[in-house]
């Protein structure tokens, strides 16, 4: 399973070093169960990238007029789009659950004069914001308000 990746990765600088065996690096981290969450996390990059491009199309369609918009909506009902968007939603939720747990500790204990709140508070705050933003968007985009 090990393969020579970069024998120079950690170059020795000392008198009289000896031949070393290359580092043990797995071919792909998928073979390592504990790496899978991380790989999936990175893999959500794909739906995000595609999503960005699709929303770009949304904006363009809006600019072009009703016809383009109707066509877009028809496309969105296409099972391919539906499946992709479902996957995208799952990805986004996965990212949120993982990242909102990791985010608080990336806050320095102090940023200049600002002292961020304790980590559990940030964590809970993120969740609250997430739910609030989602509900607000649903209300507005869903046509309930205004």
């Amino acid at each position: 399973m090990a393969r020579a990746s970069h024998p120079q990765a950690m170059t020795p600088h000392r008198p009289g070093s000896t031949r070393t065996a290359p580092p043990q690096v797995p071919d792909t981290f998928w073979s390592q169960p504990r790496m899978r969450t991380y790989l999936l996390f990175d893999a959500t990059g794909i739906p995000y990238l595609v999503l960005g491009l699709i929303v770009l199309r949304v904006a363009v369609a809006l600019g072009r007029g009703p016809e383009a918009w109707q066509e877009l909506m028809r496309d969105f009902s296409n099972p391919l789009y539906l499946v992709f968007h479902a996957i995208a939603l799952i990805s986004v939720i996965f990212v949120g659950v993982r990242f909102f747990r990791l985010f608080p500790k990336a806050q320095p204990a102090r940023l200049g004069p600002i002292k961020p709140p304790p980590r559990p508070v940030i964590h809970a705050g993120l969740y609250a914001a997430w739910i609030a933003v989602t509900l607000a968007l649903l209300v507005v985009l869903g046509g309930l308000w205004p």
Partner: protein, 251 residues
């Protein structure tokens, strides 16, 4: 020295062997060892070395989880072997040298590259003007201490390097422990060297290589939380970078 205790259990140890004088590539060797119930992985290795095969080479010293020399991959996971209970494992225990480091011999890895990275973050107090001892100690409040204390707990065992997927693929990446160490000094109220270290953090081995896999923190035996340090360091490095446009630094 001590009387027999509890039930001995037979285990099979599959251990990596590599002798550059003889072997082209590492191979494995199995040893059967009757283990005491309270043994750590290191106890079994020492037993092998003393009683079965004196040619086995591994590093260890303190056997109390503080010197940082006994890190190895146990069943694929980076572990401090002097702290890893055999009771948590089954019949077969696989012991390999720490992943992501070149192998010198058997379970001994090459760590000079790590030492260079370690030094490159300037892990010492940088001040414009050094104080004489006669002036007495600096004042530092417990709160100021707690801003960096956790990051000063690193024993340089390098388990985090063996766990980090970015270290595995990117040779230049400074890596978790080195960044945590630099960040430790940046957060120390007595230090004035953050700008210099932030430059290192934005250099070749940049902190931005880290993709927040958090594996370093998962395996760290001392709760240093290097992932936190790195990601705080990223933010500081960005702020410092932005500030460098506003205030021109001399030199």
């Amino acid at each position: 020295m001590a009387p027999e205790t509890g039930e001995m259990r037979k285990r099979t140890f599959v251990v990596t062997r590599f002798d550059p004088d003889k072997d082209q590539v590492p191979k494995t060797q199995t040893y059967e060892v009757a283990c005491r119930p309270d043994w750590k992985v290191l106890d079994a290795l020492n037993h092998i070395k003393d009683e079965i095969d004196p040619t086995l080479s591994h590093r260890w010293s303190c056997r109390m989880a503080v010197c940082g020399s006994c890190g190895m991959n146990v069943n694929g996971e980076p572990k401090l072997t002097c702290k890893t209970q055999l009771a948590d494992y089954g019949e077969v225990v696989e012991v390999e040298p720490l992943a992501n480091f070149p192998i010198v011999r058997d379970l001994v890895i090459e760590m000079d590259g790590f030492m260079e990275k370690f030094k490159s973050v300037k892990p010492w107090v940088i001040v414009a003007k050094e104080k004489a001892a006669e002036e007495g100690p600096n004042r530092q409040s417990p709160e100021e201490l707690s801003a960096f204390k956790q990051f000063s707990m690193c024993i340089n065992c390098m388990l985090c390097y063996a766990a980090c997927p970015v270290v595995a693929k990117e040779p230049h990446f400074l890596g978790p422990a080195a960044i945590a160490l630099g960040h430790r000094y940046n957060m120390d109220s007595r230090d004035e060297g953050a700008a210099e270290r932030n430059e290192v953090f934005r250099g070749e081995g940049t902190v931005f290589h880290c993709s927040y896999a958090n594996e370093c923190t998962e395996v760290c035996p001392k709760n240093v939380d290097p992932a936190a340090a790195i990601n705080q360091a990223k933010l500081n490095a960005v702020v410092d970078w932005a500030a460098s446009f506003v205030v021109k630094r001399n030199g």
